[in-house]
């Protein structure tokens, strides 16, 4: 078997689904934006929302400050809408195209009644469109709304209109504006007051079509005293060209509410020579609006040619808490420029940042964080820890935290360390019977332990396996 094929075998999600899709002509213009809106039968206010964002985007220019290096994206060479052609309106999951169902099953996300994941409600998004959501009836019983944004716009317009774009407005950044103009779908979650969501909610994204960009939006609103655990997973087929993924995630917690958002990312990272791979640009932000509310971001990044994302929290409510736990693994020619922003506005707010970066081969891992304490944030507390592990001598790790304090009663602490896997450690483990690979695995898992333990169980198991797989053959 040729080396290339062996490589593709390593990424078991690399298959392509042969299915008819309806796609727009490539390119972006006001007409395309209107077309997207009309295809989805959107109300006037939403079409306006898109147009305003498009006009904003035209005035903005591509950001230049990131450390990662990639060829300019040609925005006119991408199709902004790609939908699997369905023969009829889908009433329930059993009517979904079997090819699509099979796709998701191969990914380990079975959608059919008999086989669906226990305890996890899944909204499956194929290319830009939500294909189906499981467990909707169970959730409806407790008043939890979990459906695609497109559906929510029609069934719960007041809620969507009230919150959409309040956390990440179009003017926020270049990709936020683009997304607000052309977003196709995503998940909408609303947890009513006092409800602890009985299931973990999950959206599974799959990019399939060639030369398409995926622009999804997720909006999660946790009303007073509610709780939800949300899992995001995504994969994409291997292709030689790059694909663009520009997403927005908005989280809102009201008084005493909590949202836990976990991501295990395994996009195709490009082959060993750096061809192909997903350009992953995401704006993820949470507003802790209410008192005592809490938002936690946990992420394990192990694949995407270029990752560029900064999940952040704006801590507005008194005593609110923001947390960020991340493991970012880069290999081959990957580049990651990631980090978080914690902005303390209200009184007695707390934030914790634990970021672990592992770089191997010729990759570059950059952590860029901001802890900003506004003058009103009396009693703010932040603790950050950023650790880097370098494997091999051709990779790099950069850390660029910024700590900006304008309140004298705040306490902000930051530590960062860099280390490598020492030959002594490897030898010790080998003298106790571990193979080279297992030894590296053990050490790396130990390094990431603080982050992995915050993931829900299914994810933490997947995360460990993912890291192991990615590190194979990387340690000399």
């Amino acid at each position: 078997m040729k080396a290339e094929e062996k490589l593709k075998e390593d990424y078991k999600y690399g298959f392509v689904t042969d299915i008819e899709t309806e796609a727009f002509p490539k390119g972006l213009s006001e007409d395309i934006v209107r077309l997207i809106s009309s295809k989805k039968n959107e109300p006037e206010w939403l079409t306006e929302f898109r147009l305003k964002a498009y006009r904003q985007w035209q005035k903005m220019s591509h950001p230049e400050w990131q450390a990662v290096d990639f060829p300019k994206v040609d925005f006119q060479a991408i199709s902004y809408y790609s939908v699997p052609k369905t023969k009829k309106k889908v009433g329930n999951l059993d009517e979904v195209d079997p090819d699509l169902l099979e796709t998701f099953e191969k990914l380990g996300i079975p959608l059919t009644e008999q086989k669906r994941l226990m305890g996890v409600a899944v909204d499956a998004v194929f290319d830009s469109v939500s294909v189906g959501t499981t467990h909707q009836a169970d959730l409806e019983k407790v008043g939890v709304i979990f459906c695609s944004i497109s559906e929510a716009v029609h069934k719960h317009p007041e809620l969507v209109r009230k919150y959409l774009g309040t956390v990440v407005p179009a003017a926020d950044n270049y990709y936020a504006a683009l997304n607000a103009a052309v977003f196709s779908d995503g998940s909408f979650v609303y947890i009513p007051p006092g409800v602890r969501c009985p299931l973990d909610l999950s959206t599974y994204f799959r990019i399939n079509a060639k030369e398409s960009g995926q622009f999804e939006r997720t909006l999660i609103v946790a009303d007073k005293g509610s709780y939800v655990n949300y899992l995001e997973g995504c994969t994409a087929p291997q292709r030689d060209e790059n694909q663009l993924h520009a997403a927005i995630v908005e989280l809102i917690t009201l008084d005493d509410a909590e949202i836990k958002y976990s991501t295990v990312q395994n996009w195709w990272a490009g082959d060993k020579s750096g061809r192909g791979g997903i350009y992953n640009f995401v704006t993820k932000r949470g507003h802790c609006v209410g008192k005592n509310s809490k938002i936690s971001w946990t992420q394990v990044e192990a694949g995407s040619a270029i990752t560029w994302k900064y999940p952040s929290c704006v801590l507005l409510g008194e005593n609110s808490v923001g947390q960020f736990y991340s493991v970012a693994l880069t290999n081959h020619h990957m580049q990651a420029d990631t980090g978080t922003k914690m902005i303390h506005v209200g009184k007695n707010t707390r934030s914790t940042i634990i970021s672990k970066g592992i770089s191997a081969e010729k990759s570059l891992n950059v952590y860029r964080g901001l802890v900003k304490i506004m003058p009103s944030a009396t009693g703010a507390r932040n603790y950050s820890q950023c650790d880097s592990m370098l494997i091999g001598d051709a990779c790099g790790a950069h850390t660029f935290p910024t700590i900006d304090v304008k309140n004298d009663s705040a306490v902000v602490e930051h530590e960062a360390t860099t280390s490598k896997i020492s030959a002594d450690q490897i030898f010790y483990l080998r003298s106790r019977g571990y193979t080279q690979e297992k030894a590296v695995s053990l050490i790396v898992n130990g390094f990431c332990k603080d982050v992995f333990k915050t993931l829900p169980l299914e994810f933490s198991v997947e995360a460990v396996k993912l890291i192991e797989m990615k590190l194979e053959n990387s340690v000399g």
Partner: protein, 347 residues
């Protein structure tokens, strides 16, 4: 802004970019040399557009040596040209004082370079003075030969604008220690660049910006580890009262072949008033995998535990606070050897 009367007419415009994000100087159209009489205590005085020197055994004038330091492209650091520059060679054991002075509302611009012969030792005490109207731009370079050592401490009481650039290049087994105290009420930009270019080179940089009122202090530092087995320790402390602002940007760059580097950086900010503002940006760029590199940063007030410890021994709150503030400051001065430490601790 144009500098008139400085041998060459020199122009400088406000620098832009990430490195100067927080600090902008409001400058007049034109500035002239602010010469004053040389200081009695200092063997070398820079004021206005000229240097005044007294002869010192072991120190001889020599040709300026160009080296590409971390601030080679910085307009302020490179402002002094030709006749505004003085290069001195140091042999043996030498102790000197260097003053940077200004008369009112003018500019002082100059660059001083010390080339230390292998095995030489230089102990340098530097003072910077100036009133609220003027601008001082002083670049100080140390090219430290094999096994040579420079111990440098400075205190700036400048009430106006100043840009002080220190660039150090260390050969094998060379060592440098710089300890600085900024007490000015004006706007001070410190730029400290160190290149560790030989095996076992070691650098230590400790700074304290003690600012109140409307003072503004911006420390930008770069440590470049270009060789294996080098060490650098940095301590940057800011003690802020009133509406003072302190910015710290500390870059540490470790080249791919620079294995077994030990690089530590610590930034501590103590805010004593509601309007004080501290920004810290430690920046690590690491390309070698066998290194010990860490940085830490903490911002806050005087610790509860430390205060309680003193209270529990009968020391009242205000005395405890004063004692702990003194302790905060003292840790920086401790990094300087003997005679220089005494200078720093003296009022």
């Amino acid at each position: 802004m144009k500098l008139v009367g400085f041998h060459h007419a020199t122009e400088i415009s406000a620098p832009t970019g990430e490195a100067w994000r927080y600090t902008k100087f409001a400058l007049p159209e034109e500035m002239r040399p602010a010469n004053v009489a040389a200081s009695a205590h200092a063997e070398i005085t820079l004021s206005g557009n000229s240097f005044t020197t007294r002869s010192v055994p072991g120190v001889t004038a020599c040709n300026w040596q160009d080296f590409v330091g971390p601030y080679a492209a910085d307009a302020w650091a490179q402002l002094p040209v030709a006749e505004n520059r003085l290069a001195l060679q140091v042999v043996g054991d030498v102790s000197l004082q260097f003053d940077v002075l200004r008369s009112s509302s003018g500019a002082t611009v100059g660059a001083l370079q010390f080339q230390l012969a292998p095995g030489a030792r230089l102990t340098l005490w530097q003072e910077c003075h100036g009133d609220a109207e003027g601008l001082s731009v002083a670049t100080l370079q140390f090219i430290v030969g094999e096994g040579a050592e420079v111990n440098h401490a400075f205190r700036s009481k400048d009430q106006g604008n100043s840009v002080l650039t220190f660039e150090t290049q260390l050969a094998a087994r060379a060592r440098s220690t710089t300890v600085g105290h900024v007490r000015g009420t004006g706007k001070t930009r410190l730029q400290a660049g160190t290149i560790l270019a030989g095996t076992e080179a070691e650098a230590r940089l400790a700074t304290l910006m003690q600012l109140g009122g409307q003072a503004h202090g911006d420390l930008h530092s770069v440590f470049r580890h270009d060789h294996a087995d080098t060490r650098a320790h940095q301590l940057a402390k800011n003690l802020l009262d009133g509406e003072a602002k302190a910015i710290f940007t500390g870059r540490v760059h470790i080249a791919r072949h620079a294995q077994r580097v030990d690089a530590r950086q610590m930034n501590r900010n103590l805010l004593l008033s509601k309007k004080a503002w501290a920004v810290g940006q430690p920046q690590l760029e690491i390309f070698a995998d066998d290194v010990k590199c860490g940085h830490g940063s903490s911002t806050g007030q005087i610790g509860d535990d430390e205060t309680f410890y003193l209270l529990s021994r009968g020391i009242p709150a205000d005395k405890a606070r004063a004692l702990l503030t003194r302790a905060f400051v003292a840790e920086v001065f401790y990094q300087a050897p003997g005679s220089l430490r005494e200078r720093l601790e003296a009022p």
